[in-house]
């Protein structure tokens, strides 16, 4: 089993005729993902890799019975594309786009809370259930099917940790990059809930980073609700306060929550084994299983 995506996920790719959209649609199909449609206004009737393109997401969802959307739409139009996906509706939206204006995301988030849809991202690598389906831009070849659930705010750090796991034969049930933007849809807690409920996820890796309070909140959730063992990693221990490190999210405000120290303490208090290196995280997972 797995969470959010599997063999039955029927994907519509928004922006499938653009450079990135087309490339990664191809990669997803190659991985075995069930890409059933594309959606691009004005391109209805075309085909990309034999996949029919529709003018609207609702049209694609209706005609091809799609239940998930992956969004490769440029930032200026991505907010609208997300509203369109929520309206279609689909059960899962994966927003790869980086650089969506924060106020646009704030409005999308407001709408999201009125729906039952899961939004992963934006500014994320997507998610993958190894051997079944990949929605996004993750490099499929480093993943292997197994029982470790993985959730991370950072893309390439995810790959790093997965690499350390796969190397040791520790396969993944589902790996989810939730994105590093200030406002994201599915957060750590949403994902941890899903992993906790999944009988085939026997251990969880959670990769956080400095900024915000998501890790602290997740720690609270883990302490109160999780039986599945969790290993953690927090990037940004050496980041100086007040400096923005890449993502908007990765900024430390100087005191209190948001620092690596605060997050590591909160997680360790919740029983999470926090690794000093990605490799150490794999050590803990090996011990758990």
């Amino acid at each position: 089993m797995s969470v959010l995506v599997d063999d039955d996920t029927r994907v519509v790719v928004q922006g499938i005729t653009g450079g990135e959209g087309k490339f990664h649609a191809g990669q997803m199909i190659e991985y075995g993902t069930n890409v059933v449609a594309g959606a691009v206004p004005g391109k209805g009737g075309q085909e990309v890799y034999d996949v029919p393109v529709y003018d609207t997401v609702s049209g694609a969802a209706r005609q091809e019975d799609a239940n998930a959307a992956v969004v490769f739409v440029p930032p200026a139009f991505a907010g609208d594309a997300l509203f369109e996906a929520l309206d279609a509706p689909v059960d899962l939206v994966v927003a790869i786009t980086e650089g969506i204006p924060t106020q646009d995301m704030s409005r999308v988030y407001r709408k999201l809370k009125e729906t039952d849809t899961y939004l992963v991202g934006p500014n994320c690598p997507g998610l993958i259930t190894p051997g079944e389906a990949k929605l996004g831009i993750l490099p499929g070849n480093i993943f292997e099917s197994g029982n470790v659930g993985l959730v991370s705010r950072s893309g390439t750090l995810t790959y790093q940790v997965v690499d350390n796991l796969t190397e040791r034969g520790l396969g993944q049930s589902t790996a989810i990059g939730i994105g590093g933007d200030p406002i994201i849809g599915t957060d750590f807690i949403d994902t941890l809930k899903l992993f906790e409920a999944d009988p085939d996820t026997h251990a969880v890796v959670m990769c956080g980073e400095i900024g915000g309070e998501d890790e602290e909140n997740a720690a609270k959730y883990i302490r109160q609700n999780m039986d599945t063992p969790v290993a953690g990693f927090i990037a940004g221990r050496t980041a100086p306060p007040g400096k923005r490190m890449g993502h908007a999210g990765a900024i430390v405000s100087g005191s209190g929550t948001g620092t690596a120290e605060s997050k590591i303490n909160a997680l360790e208090d919740a029983g999470v084994r926090v690794g000093d290196t990605p490799n150490e995280v794999a050590d803990y997972i090996e011990q758990f299983l």
Partner: protein
């Protein structure tokens, strides 16, 4: 992106928020003329993005032409926490009886805007927030509806603003919110919002930070002149479009993806080294971008060794390898030892392409970081 005080005040004034009479000056003569035009007393205020300008000597109140000349002369060209002052705002001095704080920002945790009002304006509001959080009234705004008028009134009354001026302050807050929304603000603040003895309220300072991701639809704001960055290298990074932060160590770090780069920094520290910088080349970098990154890190005199850590997703190992080769082949002698680790998409191809005469190749993150820390130590010794 942070606007200068004078730019933010122009925005505020255009939207109908009362601001003091003021003129921008780039020379001492301009400043003295402007002061005479406005009428003494005036404040002469350095236009740089530095907190605590006043304490650092960047703001002076002057009563006549002589004082104005002296102050302008002192402030223009001064170094304020690493920023050279090349502009001052000459501004009517406001005689106030009270100072308020009014601000709008995005509450990231809640995913919605929040409006804030405090009667403890004129001081560092972050300090107030920490010492006495209740001194700041907050009202979350539903981004679907925008700010309702009643919300502006509610937060103003809850902050304890005097009834006589509550209506004016609410109206300024409403305007500030609308401006924040229309112009894609990340933060909009008036601190202090001065209250005069005859009950007028006036924005004596103005902060407006724009969401950089929204600059495409705010072309006039995108064009506004920013400070010359205090750090030459950071200015260069800006030009190249890198996320770059200069630090104090001697191990240069290049990687793709903020989380992975931060992790590389953390590992340098973990293995006893000191990171010299954070440099994220982003996703899908081509060879030229890779060369630019190396150029940047080489330009930092503090750097003694470089670790180049790439885990390819969209980024392709062969592109990176070519970029590294091209950049290094231009040198007769490699300026600093470079330790490279490639993983992920086309990593194998990349490893094969890399010229091992020019770089040291390592298979794991740990080995690469340790290699760089050791190389840096060797140079230091």
């Amino acid at each position: 992106m942070r606007l200068h005080e004078y730019q933010a005040k122009d925005l505020f004034a255009d939207a109908g928020i009362p601001t003091p009479d003021s003129t921008l000056a780039r020379t001492v003569d301009e400043a003295v003329d402007a002061a005479a035009e406005i009428g003494y007393p005036v404040a002469i205020k350095a236009q740089v993005h530095v907190g605590g300008r006043g304490k650092a000597g960047g703001i002076k109140l002057v009563d006549d032409g002589e004082e104005a000349r002296e102050a302008a002369d002192e402030i223009l060209g001064m170094d304020l926490k690493g920023f050279e002052v090349d502009r001052v705002l000459v501004e009517e001095a406001v005689d106030f009886v009270n100072e308020l704080y009014v601000g709008v920002t995005m509450d990231r945790g809640e995913g919605k805007p929040v409006a804030m009002v405090s009667t403890r304006g004129g001081v560092n509001i972050e300090e107030v927030a920490e010492e006495d959080p209740d001194a700041i009234a907050r009202e979350h705004i539903d981004p679907a509806f925008g700010m309702h008028d009643f919300q502006a009134r509610k937060v103003v009354y809850e902050a304890g603003v005097d009834g006589d001026i509550a209506r004016d302050v609410s109206s300024i807050l409403s305007t500030l919110y609308d401006l924040w929304e229309e112009r894609d603000g990340s933060d909009a603040e008036i601190n202090p919002l001065m209250v005069t003895s005859d009950g007028e309220v006036i924005a004596a300072d103005a902060v407006f930070n724009v969401d950089e991701d929204a600059l495409f639809r705010q072309p006039d704001l995108a064009e506004m002149e920013e400070d010359a960055a205090g750090d030459e290298l950071e200015a260069k990074a800006n030009e190249y479009g890198f996320d770059y932060v200069r630090l104090s160590g001697n191990v240069g770090i290049i990687g793709n993806g903020a989380g992975l780069v931060m992790t590389t920094l953390d590992l340098v520290d973990y293995y006893g080294g000191e990171p010299a910088n954070f440099l994220d080349i982003g996703g899908g970098a081509k060879a030229q971008r890779v060369a630019n990154a190396l150029d940047m890190v080489f330009s930092d005199e503090n750097v003694d060794a470089v670790v180049f850590n790439i885990f390819g997703g969209i980024t392709r190992g062969d592109e990176v390898a070519n970029g590294i080769n091209n950049a290094l082949e231009q040198f007769d002698e490699i300026p600093k030892p470079v330790i490279v680790r490639l993983a992920g998409t086309n990593a194998k191809e990349g490893m094969e392409i890399l010229n091992t005469d020019l770089v040291q190749v390592e298979a794991t993150l740990e080995d690469a970081v340790q290699g760089a820390v050791e190389a840096a130590e060797e140079v230091t010794q």
